[in-house]
Symmetry: C2
Subunit: 281 residues, 2 copies
């Protein structure tokens, strides 16, 4: 890496000989640097959680096609390279994830939320409360593929059932600040999944969250009332970014309104902070 006359002294870029080799070469060079740091014991607060999982780092959106018939729905053409998940925060690269809120809402009954407790052995945020299902998007996966697979792995929900019911409901963007002070820009695609009430006629196998011993990420699931969920949020029992996802859910479902909290406008804006970084295009 270096800085050139073209990018200016305020930007760091690849040297041309690396850049010209393409996305795979960029990944390899970054990987060698980051593995070296890990081997030397540097940045343990990030690299200590090494995942052996690649995330996609995006570059600028592709230019419009020269024919002029620019298809805005063409996807995946601006992957710059891939990077080990735990290293992304060191560079301030945006990472992308999926969070799903599963809930039960029967006619005339108050809404309830499926809330898992993270396994005590997880390297990050052990034993804290979480969104029903959540995960990072591994390079090469689509958000929808990711959330359907995570629903099966973490909550034993049937992929066919989830695919027929789950709804994407927007996106949140924010900076997560690590304990060591690194700023990690995060993009979370949020999903809603309405489930049949436990014990109801529709509550077949694969439609109710349950722990998956083979996965081991979740210790238990509980169906909580709104009041109980909010109480635990206020008590700091939730992993922080999961509380954001719940707040957005409450705003979309009329459970947090401009009449119930005068910070409504500010909260809505802060849940979608402009990151100023490229995403999939």
């Amino acid at each position: 890496m270096g800085h050139s006359a073209e990018t200016g002294p305020w930007a760091v870029g690849f040297e041309d000989w690396v850049n010209d080799e393409g996305a795979d070469a960029r990944r390899e060079h970054f990987d060698r640097i980051v593995r070296g740091w890990k081997h030397a014991g540097m940045f343990p607060e990030c690299l200590g959680g090494w995942r052996d999982e690649f995330y996609t780092i995006y570059g600028p959106p592709p230019p419009p096609s020269p024919e002029g018939d620019d298809n805005p729905l063409a996807t995946g053409s601006n992957e710059a390279f891939r990077m080990e998940r735990s290293a992304c925060a060191l560079f301030g690269f945006a990472t992308f994830g999926v969070h799903c809120t599963a809930y039960v809402e029967e006619e005339g009954e108050p809404l309830k939320l499926w809330v898992p407790r993270r396994s005590a052995t997880k390297p990050t945020w052990p034993s804290m409360l979480d969104n029903t299902v959540a995960g990072g998007i591994t390079a090469g996966d689509s958000p929808r593929m990711s959330i359907i697979r995570e629903c099966a792995e973490e909550a034993s929900l049937s992929p066919a059932f989830v695919a027929s019911r789950i709804k994407q409901a927007g996106v949140l963007t924010y900076h997560y600040r690590t304990a060591a002070g690194f700023l990690q820009p995060e993009v979370q695609y949020v999903y809603d999944l309405r489930l049949p009430a436990p014990g109801s006629a529709d509550a077949a196998e694969g439609t109710q969250p349950s722990t998956n011993p083979a996965d081991g990420e979740v210790e238990s699931f509980e169906l909580l009332s709104l009041d109980e969920t909010v109480r635990r949020m206020c008590d700091g029992e939730f992993k922080p970014n999961c509380a954001l996802v719940l707040i957005d859910f409450f705003m979309r479902h009329g459970l947090l309104t401009c009449e119930s909290d005068t910070r409504f406008l500010e909260i809505a804006a802060r849940l979608r902070k402009p990151l100023g970084l490229p995403g999939p295009a």
Copy 2:
């Protein structure tokens, strides 16, 4: 008005003798200025649509209470003054409105949307398509009071029925640019209202949108499929800010996803543009 050493040359403020008189005095002084402009035929593109309706203009949020028991849920304490609705764009003051999307979504059936056509005699955007119910928030009203009243006035929906069913679903912020080039910052609280299907057992009087001859704002209501609604949006048949509200509805209901449009992230951010202006606090 003038600029003082305190506010600096880049800000315009009230002279102290006006400011100290309070919100009613500020309203009166502004009203005299604006009525003078109207009388002189100035700014016809804004003041030609004079409404005889006051909007609230907000000032900075109130300081925390000296006792330290700052109640963030206390409301309405930062009204700076009120101003004739049609004059707000001249000053770039933020205006606040409510937009409701009424829809029908039966198990196993595709979602349909209730779409009105504006009356041909409306001073603004005559004969264009609109959100099911929409209106500005008159000074002194809450967003919820406003939307319930507009649902009755514009669409003949029963207030008790609407109050039991309607859900606030978030807020949109954007700048509307008038034909003359004035920038009008707008805040729209959005609501979802799921209605029983026409002809179904639950479709009692007051649960189906219908025109109100006493109101005269709407020419007709139609229940449109998603495809037909999108086609008419693309054809420019909708009042522009109403298309924004529909796009947000589509994003919240899984009808517009990051897989169906690569501009998903950008659209989500632009629907909630930071206005940098005070709101109710």
